[in-house]
Amino acid sequence: MIIDSIITRLNSYICITEKYISDYLFYRMKLLVCVSKAPDTTSRISFTDGGKRFDESGVQFIINPYDEWYALVRAIELVEANGGSVTTVTVGDATCDPIIRKALAIGATDAVRIDAIPTDSVQVASLIANYSKNEGFDIIFCGKETIDHNSCAVPAMIAECMGLPYVAIATSIEVSGSESTLVAEVSGGTNNVTVNGPFVLSATKGMSEQRIPNMRGIMSARSKPLIVVDASDVSKMSEVNEFKLPPVKGDCVLVDADNAAELVRLLREEAKII
């Protein structure tokens, strides 16, 4: 009897130890990076359909720089250092595939495209949250904002939809097991914070440096999985009624370099600004 009980107990210790060792040896970080298509920074901005739609003709599309330079590259660096996988997710139609292949060429493991035309941030965030909720991602990386809509909305909305903590506008992240330590920009300074368990972050400058895909990356990206999934049924809460271009600036008034007082007079009397 006593020997039996000792054996049972030993067995249970061995099981626990095995689980601990396998968790330790086979723990793989599972990261998700939200990647959005954006017009190149230097694109000429114009509108069509009576100002309702961005005119895409002749526009070069790129990976939204915040998603690429900071979120994606930092996620890849973490997986290179600790093991694991980086999945990218994009809400969009097939015109997004070239930028998704570029993300794979930079070093993402695989990619998912949710087949829907993005309309507003509530729709995009709900689609990504619905896809992610059963996937068990450890960290969901987003860029701070897209350079077309400048909203900074999707990451916080994903966090709310999934009931996760959210660290906004982060400039660095270090991960140790299930614990992540980040630096984030807040009003008047920076916060150093720690999060335990899964969470969402938005990344900005400082996280990492831009990476140019090498030939091997570009070749391997062709055969990496890009899975297209149907969009779940979600509603949008807002829509753009009209885009407008800002009024054209008048000519710059030049003041002689020796006449700083004249500039001050103009700022005071004409611009009424000082």
């Binding site: 400048n150 909305a153 916080a156 909305m157 903590p165 009003s187 400082g206 407008k244 700022l267």
Partner: protein
């Protein structure tokens, strides 16, 4: 029905960004009650009453986690039957407001710059290269206001009445280890600054920033810099304005020795008046400027500082 506005505070007083969102909430209320919500220390009414807001809900605990702020605001918005919820477009507002939009099943319009009617809101898009009029299709609208876009409208009104408010905000899963302020010199933080003096590679080295700081001091302005200057470590990163840095919207932006690359313009093109000082008459920045001086910053800046001091 009411308009609920979440007011950022510092040392018990509404910040400039806070007074601005209170003023905005008043301007769009068109007959609805305007209710302000504050968390943490509050001395008196925090100056909020001056904007014409007559009721302040006060949650006594200081909370910083966006999840908790969201629960607090959602609770107050539900209690007050808010149809519009207004946040500042500072980093904290941008982190909490989208959560409220989800929890309230609301439409979300960030970066609003002016007052328009009903459920239509005007905001900047394409890094300031265009504006969009956004219609909300839901009963409730959640908006953030771009700092320094609307301004503070002091109505000289009486103090607001302050009521204690309690709500279940849950535990924060984000532990704050430390806070590092960007500057201790007491200057206004860049996103809220009304006047900014910015300099670039034309200054030739970090040791030459004295003339920039002198002009900023004379004007009561905050200093900023271009990306290369931040990257080379001449100036701290938090001063970097532009596409990948901070977006600002001051009344006056003076650019010294900055050529005006499109990425830089994206961060500053919403400034009300832009002054460019550069030796190169072909610098692209002159096309975006209201006033310009073609000349050497090392000669022009001291003269400009003297002329300002002479006012």
């Amino acid at each position: 029905m009411s308009v609920l506005v979440y007011i950022p505070t510092h040392d018990g007083r509404a910040t400039n960004a806070g007074l601005e969102v209170a003023s905005y909430a008043n301007a769009i209320s068109s007959g609805s009650d305007v209710v302000a919500l504050v968390s943490g220390d509050l001395s008196g009414d925090g100056g909020i009453g001056s904007t014409g807001v007559s009721r302040v809900l006060h949650y006594a605990t200081d909370i910083n986690d966006n999840s908790q702020i969201s629960k607090l605001v959602t609770s107050a918005a539900t209690t007050e039957g808010a149809h519009t919820i207004v946040f500042s477009g500072n980093n904290e507002g941008k982190a909490a407001a989208p959560r409220v939009a989800i929890s309230m099943n609301a439409g979300y319009v960030p970066g609003v710059t002016s007052v328009s009617g009903g459920k239509s809101f005007t905001r900047n898009v394409f890094s300031g290269k265009a504006t969009a009029v956004v219609d909300v299709n839901a009963e409730v609208s959640v908006v953030t206001i771009t700092p320094n876009s609307f301004g503070i409208k002091d109505q000289g009104a009486a103090d607001a009445s302050v009521e204690a408010f309690s709500a279940e905000v849950g535990d924060s899963k984000v532990t704050l280890n430390s806070f590092t302020p960007t500057s201790n010199d007491g200057s206004v933080p860049l996103p809220e600054a009304v006047r900014v003096v910015s300099a670039g590679r034309g200054l030739k080295g970090p040791e030459n920033w004295g003339i920039v700081e002198d002009l900023a001091t004379a004007l009561g302005a905050t200093t900023a810099c271009s990306r290369p200057v931040g990257d080379m470590g001449w100036r701290p990163h938090h001063e970097h304005v532009g596409q990948t840095g901070i977006t600002i919207r001051p009344d006056l932006y003076i650019a010294c020795g900055i050529s005006g690359a499109i990425q830089h313009l994206a961060g500053v093109n919403q400034s009300k008046v832009i002054v460019v000082i550069n030796t190169d008459p072909e610098a692209p920045f002159f096309k975006a400027a209201d006033y310009g001086i073609v000349g050497d910053v090392f000669e022009v800046l001291p003269k400009l500082t003297e002329a300002i001091k002479a006012l």
